[in-house]
């Protein structure tokens, strides 16, 4: 069974440009999460989808970030326009349900560098 996949693995863009990150969860997982780790800091929660609905987006830093999950399958996270402080590793995770006993499976992450 394929795990959580993320694309691209690494993205380097200039300040002011737009970048779109993609996450494909494990097939059949209704719950999808985005997290971010800025260098030297904790991995922080960004938002949580249940199917195509945003359950919790309290961690989104500002309105330059837009997450979507059309059809309840894969998800995209768009940053527009990118700023220097957006650099970091963006992780996606999925779980079958929201039960706390269900493991969140993480993808390998997308390393975003904003110059």
């Amino acid at each position: 069974e394929a795990g959580v996949t993320q694309f691209p693995s690494h993205s380097v863009i200039e300040k002011g440009q737009t970048v779109t990150l993609r996450c494909d969860p494990i097939s059949g997982h209704d719950n999808l999460y985005w997290y971010r780790r800025v260098m030297g800091k904790e991995i922080k929660f960004l938002l949580h989808f249940v199917k195509e609905s945003k359950q919790d987006e309290s961690g989104m830093p500002n309105n330059r970030f837009l997450a979507e999950r059309t059809g309840g399958t894969y998800s995209t996270l768009k940053v527009q326009p990118a700023e220097l402080e957006d650099s970091g590793v963006y992780f996606c995770a999925s779980s079958q349900s929201s039960r706390r006993t269900d493991t969140q499976y993480f993808g390998p992450g997308t390393r975003l560098t904003v110059l």
């Binding site: 904790e42 991995i43 949580h48 359950q55 929201s98 706390r100 969140q104 993480f106 390998p108 992450g109």
Partner: protein
């Protein structure tokens, strides 16, 4: 708000020896879940071990075990018979039990080096 603290940014251990990674957390909840995640250099983060706060018995997974001290809010990870493949960043993490706030709260991580 819940917080997770890992006070050891880096640690080293000789191959085949035992090492303990420290973690403390802060919460006002009485029931919750604690985790240790491992992120090897290839970057895929995987779950190492999980502890449910209502269970008094410490969780064990092969060479990995935890020392869960609920009153002290401490959750350390012990790795026995360390192997080269154990070299990774280890994250201590917390998850609330409620139907709201379905997110994992992570510590800053401890980078573990295994010396051959």
């Amino acid at each position: 708000a819940q917080t997770v603290t890992q006070s050891q940014p880096e640690m080293s251990v000789q191959e085949a020896e035992t090492v303990t990674l420290s973690c403390t957390y802060d919460t006002s909840e009485s029931d919750y879940y604690l985790f240790w995640y491992k992120q090897p250099p290839s970057r895929q983060m995987i779950l190492v071990i999980r502890q449910e706060a209502y269970k008094q018995q410490n969780a064990t997974e092969n060479r990995f075990s935890v020392n869960f001290q609920k009153a002290a809010k401490s959750f350390s990870l012990k790795i026995s018979d360390s192997q080269l493949g154990d070299a990774a960043m280890y994250f201590c993490a917390y998850r609330s039990p409620g139907w709201r706030d379905d997110k994992i709260i992570f510590g800053k991580g401890t980078r573990l080096h295994i010396l051959p």
